[in-house]
């Protein structure tokens, strides 16, 4: 998503990520992933996560979700994932944005904050993500092959495609981060 940011601004949108983490952690994440958009902190979920209905009570954090708001604030698209890696394809979000017919957004250049990257100890290192997601991809392909139930089969296939997109995005992000570093 971050790697296709101009696809979003070209359709008159900006992106903002929302998470329960503190601003310091978010600053490290913005740096680590060279994000062109802000990460906003909603520690107890009361400001946005709960009001927008994407709170995971069990985990005390947001459920992975994407919500698109038109300029008047009404919701035009919503996707709530079923697990930590469940994300929609960019295409569906871009389609929802295109249907609004907005002019391109002006984006201020050079908004990436520069702080020492301090990813949490349990986070998967970016270099290792592709290896992990390749594992997910092959495991879900194998599960799809064994599944008898059509829904389970479709879900396994969807997971496999999702993992493939992660691998692609990881490659693009690594290239960008290396560019920033040199």
């Amino acid at each position: 998503m971050a790697r296709e940011y101009d696809q979003y601004t070209g359709r008159g949108a900006t992106i903002a990520a929302i998470v329960v983490d503190a601003p310091e952690q978010n600053a490290a994440m913005v740096e680590k992933l060279a994000l062109p958009f802000p990460i906003l902190s909603d520690p107890d979920g009361e400001r946005a996560i709960k009001p927008l209905g994407v709170w995971d009570e069990e985990g005390k954090m947001a459920t992975p979700a994407i919500i698109v708001l038109a300029p008047d604030g009404h919701e035009v698209y919503r996707y709530a994932g079923v697990d930590f890696m469940d994300r929609p394809n960019d295409d569906e979000i871009l389609e929802a944005l295109s249907s609004l017919g907005l002019p391109a957004t002006e984006t201020p250049a050079g908004t990436i904050a520069h702080l020492d990257p301090r990813p949490g100890s349990r986070a998967i290192k970016l270099d290792n993500l592709a290896v992990y997601m390749r594992g997910v991809r092959f495991a879900s392909m194998a599960l799809a092959g064994r599944a008898r139930d059509p829904f389970d089969k479709a879900e396994a296939e969807r997971t496999s495609r999702m993992a493939e997109r992660y691998v692609t995005a990881q490659g693009a992000t690594l290239r960008l981060v290396n560019q920033h570093a040199t």
């Binding site: 008159g12 903002a16 929302i18 709960k50 009001p51 992975p64 994407i66 957004t105």
Partner: protein, 49 residues
């Protein structure tokens, strides 16, 4: 649309224009301000777990 049945709903009476959060630099960020620039894609994620 997603092929997954979506059961999560926005709370009734929520006015997104009042949403104010803190960005990674500790600065206030207002949803109403972002909407002045166009559509807004909100990406919720679980966090650094």
């Amino acid at each position: 649309m997603s092929q997954y049945p979506n059961t999560l709903q926005r709370k009734k009476g929520t006015d997104v224009h009042n949403v104010e959060l803190t960005d990674q630099a500790g600065q206030p960020w207002q949803l109403a301000g972002a909407l002045l620039r166009g559509a807004v894609v909100l990406v919720f994620y679980r966090g650094d777990w």
